[in-house]
Amino acid sequence: MSATAPITLSARNLIRRFGQREVIHGVSLELRHGEVLGLLGHNGAGKSTTLQMLTGALLPHSGQIEICGFDLSRQPQNAKAKIGFLPETPPLYREMSVNDFLIFAAKLHRVPRAHIMDALTETKRRCGLQDSGKKIIGTLSKGYQQRVGIAQAIIHQPEVIILDEPTVGLDPSQIRDIRELIRELGNTHSVILSTHLLGEVESICDRVEIMHHGRLIYGDISTKMQQYGSQPGFIVTLLAPPALSELQAIAEVQQVDQLSATQFRILHTVNTNPSAALLALAAQHGWQAEQLVPLQTRLEDVFMQITQDEKS
């Protein structure tokens, strides 16, 4: 992704009310070609509502959405033709076969009649559905239904792909497959996905926006967010540990805490990493280093940090 890639989706000041209650307070988003944006937030933060507004399934009470230069409220059909959407519950007609359903989705999204069969084969290949074409959707497992849901969203080669919690309820190997697919899609399309899993953002997103109570409270590239507000460090397991002071003495180490007889948490300064020096020393003195795990920031921590910063 480069900063000069064309903007495919831009939303300005979206406001949405349910009854008298305002649930989205002025959300603005921008997405460039070839970018994967993660929309992160707790349940009920307004992620799904925002995504539904971006696809035109819900109308915002005020604000503007532009997709590839088409205004969503003035030229809805042109704009929507550029979007592929997978809602939280995949919109599948359970009694249809996979092929029939995907052909219907392709026609609905204006794929020219001559290209439908090509698009169908290509999409099934990408989503790993080659052998499921004739199966009835209702008989497929949850993971395969999710794949059909994604296939439905990408069959017309949309510029912008919007996925609402695409990996919820899948088993680990399916999650891995789908993340790989999303990563692959991110090279040629723009992708927005919502999630409440920080790991997902880390593994597939270029950029992240955090949503909290209907507001975007933080946006940055995803690797930076991992480090937000917390000091970098790692946990090391040494089977024959030296005295604490010896660890403390390693250059750039700021603090060492003993977690158990063999585990130590080591905090270091930003932009430096004493792990190599530590491992070299361990080899030299026979400390029997076994594991070195970087400290993971949990979404909870990042949230707390960011919301606290908001208040102050």
């Binding site: 696809t55 109308l59 929507k80 809602p87 009694e95 999204h109």
Partner: protein
């Protein structure tokens, strides 16, 4: 786009086993009724022959059969209209249509046409049954054609109203019962009106079907059916649009 949606609705009816069951049962009922009327007609035929202006087979057999079909359609259509929008909303598949590059008009008209194609099939199968009379007697084609047109218009108005009820709720059963109650209400308005010029009576689609049933092509009735369908289709479109604003 309209045809894509109509085609999908039409096809999805035939993957449900109950549709085939209903089609089979309907044919059985129609055939039963048809043969019963035919039997009664054959018994009185010799007496009828002595009358100066005796009713023919079409009026004595076909017209009552069409009247029965009109009643059966009233009870049948809610079962099909309930699926159109309420079930899509419950299964959350409506989002697919709402976020696709199709307008609300396409969605509503597409679903309307899809179900109408199916009902045309039912009506056509009855027509074929009646046409078998041609083997033994001279048929009054004019009467048959007005009846066919009347049935199609009546079915269209029921579908339009049923579609609107279906768009109001996310519970298919509520949509079916609601539509059935309304159809029955309208029918009761018609049969309970003693005075045939009662203005309430004009509200009931069945009362407008009566003139088609006796072979009368009345422009008032035609206009009524057209207005009835358009009004409820427009209301449904409006309802879907509001769905994007309020839901």
């Amino acid at each position: 786009m309209i045809l894509t949606i109509a085609h999908k609705e039409f096809r999805s009816l035939f993957v449900i086993p109950s549709t085939w069951l209903i089609l089979g049962a309907l044919q059985f009922i129609f055939a039963w009724f048809f043969l019963a009327r035919l039997d009664a007609f054959l018994q009185v035929q010799s007496q009828l022959a002595q009358l100066a202006n005796a009713p023919g087979a079409t009026l004595a057999v076909a017209a009552p059969l069409f009247g029965t079909i009109a009643l059966i359609l009233m009870m049948l259509i809610p079962i099909f209209t309930m699926r159109l929008i309420a079930e899509e909303r419950r299964n959350q598949t409506l989002t697919l249509l709402m976020s696709a590059p199709v307008s609300d008009i396409h969605i509503v008209v597409g679903k309307f046409i899809g179900l109408m194609l199916f009902l045309l099939l039912i009506i056509a199968s009855c027509m074929l049954m009646v046409l078998t009379l041609a083997a033994g007697t001279q048929l009054d084609t004019g009467l048959i054609l007005t009846n066919a047109l009347g049935l199609i218009l009546l079915a269209a108005s029921y579908v339009a109203l049923g579609l609107y009820i279906s768009s109001l709720t996310a519970q298919p059963v509520v949509a079916a019962i609601g539509a059935l109650a309304l159809f029955f209400g309208l029918w009761l308005v018609e049969i309970s009106a003693v005075d045939s010029h009662n203005s309430w009576r004009a509200l009931a689609p069945t009362s407008h079907f009566q003139s088609f049933n006796i072979g009368l092509l009345n422009s008032t009735d035609l206009i009524f059916f057209l207005l009835f369908c358009t009004a409820f289709l427009l209301l449904t479109i409006r309802r879907l649009h509001n769905n994007r604003i309020y839901s």
